[in-house]
C-alpha cells in the first residue's frame, strides 16, 4: 500500500476511487451510499411541509414539530406492532408456503393439483379481501383440547396476511426448484438417491440462495401491507395516526407532516431491505 496505510480516507483521491471500484466489482454492483441522497428527499418533504404548517399555525398554537415529537412514542409503538405482525405473518406464511411449493412438484397428481390450486387461489385474491375474509369469518375464540384461546383482531389480521405470503412463498420455492438444472436430478438418480433424499440433500440446499432475494422482496411488500390492517379495524400505526390527528383537533395543516412522518418510517425500514435484495441478487447471479 502506498503510504503504508489501507484506510481509504487517507489515500489520495485516485486510489480511493480505485479502492471503491474494486470493492464494487467484488459485490458486482455499485454499492449504494444510503445516507446522502435518499433519506434526504423525504426529510426535505418533511421539513418543507412542517415549515409550511408552522407558518400557517396561529399564535398560541403549538409548533408542528413539537406536536410530532409529543406523539412519536405512541406512534412508534404502533409501528413496532406493525413490524411484529409482519414477522409473525412472514414466519407462518413461509413455513406453510415452503411445504406447498414442494408439494407442487410432487409425483402424486392429487397433491400436485391441490397445492397448485391453493397457491393460485391465494395469489389471485387481493390482500385486503383476504383480510376482510379472515376478520369476519374466523371465530373470536377457538377451543383446542379443552383450552379456550381468544383470537383478538390482530391475530386474525396476521393470519389474513399470512395467506398471500404462503401463496407467494410457494411460487418462489417452486420457481427455485425448477431452476435447478435437470442434470442435478439425473446424477443424483444415477447415484441411487431416492426422490426424498435428492430433494432434501441436493436440490433444496441449492435453492436457498436463489430464493433469498425474492423472499426478502416479499417481506418488504408484506411490511407495507400491514397498514391494511387499519382498514379492518386493527389498532396499528395508521389507526393511531388517525386518532392522533383527531385528538389534535382535526387540523388540516397537520395532515401532510404526519403522513410524511409515517411514510418516512416505512421508507427507512424498507429501503435498506430493497437495496440489500438487489445486491444479493447480483451477487448470486455473478457466482452462477
Amino acid at each position: 500500500m502506498i503510504g503504508g496505510t489501507d484506510l481509504p480516507v487517507l489515500l489520495p483521491a485516485a486510489q480511493r476511487l480505485a479502492e471503491r471500484v474494486r470493492r464494487e466489482r467484488e459485490v458486482g454492483a455499485p454499492i449504494p451510499r444510503l445516507q446522502a441522497r435518499h433519506g434526504a428527499w423525504i426529510a426535505v418533504i418533511l421539513v418543507f411541509s412542517a415549515g409550511a404548517a408552522g407558518a400557517q399555525a396561529g399564535a398560541g398554537q403549538e409548533s408542528v414539530l413539537s406536536i410530532m415529537l409529543k406523539w412519536t412514542p405512541l406512534l412508534f409503538q404502533g409501528f413496532i406492532f406493525n413490524l411484529a405482525i409482519s414477522f409473525l405473518a412472514m414466519a407462518g406464511g413461509t413455513v406453510v408456503g415452503a411445504l406447498l411449493g414442494v408439494w407442487q412438484i410432487s409425483l402424486l397428481p392429487p397433491v400436485r393439483a391441490g397445492s397448485w390450486l391453493v397457491t393460485q387461489f391465494f395469489r389471485n385474491a387481493p390482500w385486503l379481501v383476504l383480510l376482510f375474509f379472515c376478520m369476519f369469518l374466523l371465530p373470536f375464540q377457538v377451543r383446542i383440547f379443552g383450552v379456550v384461546i381468544p383470537l383478538p383482531d390482530w391475530i386474525k389480521a396476521t393470519f389474513g396476511l399470512a395467506l398471500p405470503v404462503m401463496a407467494n412463498v410457494s411460487e418462489i420455492v417452486r420457481g427455485a426448484i425448477q431452476s435447478i438444472p435437470s442434470g442435478q436430478w439425473e446424477s443424483a438418480e444415477s447415484l441411487a438417491f431416492n426422490r426424498r433424499q435428492t430433494l432434501w440433500q441436493i436440490i433444496l440446499p441449492q435453492c436457498v440462495k436463489r430464493m433469498l432475494p425474492p423472499w426478502m422482496n416479499l417481506y418488504a411488500i408484506l411490511t407495507m401491507a400491514t397498514v391494511l390492517a387499519s382498514v379492518v379495524g386493527v389498532s396499528e400505526v395508521m389507526t393511531l395516526t388517525g386518532q392522533v390527528l383527531s385528538a389534535e383537533g382535526g387540523r388540516t395543516d397537520l395532515l401532510i407532516p404526519f403522513y410524511s412522518y409515517i411514510l418516512l418510517w416505512f421508507f427507512i425500514y424498507c429501503y435498506p431491505i430493497a437495496r440489500l435484495t438487489v445486491r444479493l441478487e447480483r451477487h448470486f447471479a455473478v457466482k452462477t
Binding site: 389471485n124 395508521m238 410524511s260
Partner: protein, 248 residues
C-alpha cells in the same frame, strides 16, 4: 331471467344462503356498478401508469443528472412506502390543499373526487414499477442490434420504433402482466377512501343484509375469476407474440 333470479329467493328461504344481489334488483345494480368501477379504475390506472413508465424510462436515460435523480427518487419513494398510506397522503393531505368548488347542488366539495385521487395514487404506484420494467426491457436489446439498425440507415427515432421497442416489449411483457395483475388487486385499497368499487359495494350489501359469508365468498370468487381471466389472457398474448429463440 326473472325466474332465474327468483330461484335465489327460494334458496334463501330454504337454506338460508342469502345472495341478495341475485334476487334484489337494487343490490344487483350496486354489484354491477361496483364491478365496473373496479374495471374502470384498473383501466385508467393501467393507461396512466404505462405513460408514466415510458416517460420515466426515457428520463432515466437522459443526460441531465437531475432528471435521473428525480426519477430515481420517485421510484424509490413509491416502491418502499405502503400504497395505502400513499393514497391517504394524496386524498387527505394533498386533497386538503386544493381549493373547494361549488357542485351542482350548491355544496362545496373537493375539486378532485375520490375516484380521481385513487386513480392518481395508484397510477404513480404502478408507474414506479413500470419505469424499472421498461428500462430493463430496453437494456435487454443488445447494443449490436441497435448498431445494425443505424448501419442500415435508420435514424434514432426509427430504430426505436421499428427495432428496439418491438424487441424490448417482448422482454417486458411478462413483468408488465404481473404488474397489471397486482394493479387490479390493489384497486381494492380505494375502499379506504370510499370509492364505490367492488369491495366497498359488497361491504355496503353485507352491512345491510348481514350476509357476510356469502358476500365474502362471492368477492373471493369474483376477484380470483377476474384475475385468473386476466392472467390467462396475458399468457395467450405472450405466447402469440413470442419470437423463437429470443428471450427466456
Amino acid at each position: 331471467m326473472q325466474d332465474f333470479f327468483a330461484w335465489f329467493q327460494w334458496l334463501y328461504d330454504e337454506t338460508g344462503i342469502n345472495l341478495t344481489y341475485f334476487y334484489d334488483s337494487f343490490d344487483r345494480a350496486r354489484m354491477i356498478d361496483g364491478f365496473f368501477t373496479t374495471i374502470r379504475l384498473s383501466l385508467v390506472c393501467l393507461f396512466f401508469s404505462t405513460i408514466i413508465g415510458i416517460v420515466g424510462a426515457w428520463l432515466q436515460g437522459s443526460r441531465l443528472v437531475w432528471a435521473r435523480r428525480i426519477v430515481q427518487g420517485y421510484i424509490q419513494f413509491f416502491r418502499n412506502t405502503p400504497p395505502l398510506v400513499q393514497m391517504y397522503f394524496f386524498f387527505f393531505a394533498l386533497g386538503s390543499l386544493l381549493p373547494r368548488v361549488k357542485n351542482d347542488f350548491g355544496y362545496m366539495e373537493p375539486m378532485l373526487s375520490n375516484f380521481t385521487w385513487a386513480a392518481i395514487s395508484l397510477s404513480f404506484f404502478a408507474g414506479a414499477f413500470n419505469v424499472e420494467i421498461f428500462r430493463s426491457g430496453i437494456e435487454a436489446v443488445p447494443e449490436s442490434t441497435r448498431e445494425a439498425a443505424e448501419a442500415l440507415g435508420y435514424n434514432r427515432l426509427q430504430s426505436y420504433m421499428y427495432v428496439v421497442l418491438p424487441l424490448a416489449f417482448r422482454v417486458c411483457l411478462p413483468a408488465l402482466n404481473n404488474n397489471l395483475v397486482n394493479l387490479v388487486k390493489t384497486t381494492t385499497l380505494a375502499y379506504a377512501i370510499a370509492v364505490p368499487e367492488l369491495l366497498y359495494v359488497s361491504n355496503q350489501i353485507w352491512s345491510d343484509s348481514v350476509n357476510v359469508p356469502e358476500m365474502m365468498v362471492t368477492l373471493l370468487i369474483l376477484y380470483v375469476a377476474l384475475v385468473g381471466l386476466l392472467v390467462w389472457g396475458m399468457h395467450r398474448w405472450e405466447r402469440a407474440i413470442r419470437v423463437p429463440g429470443y428471450g427466456a
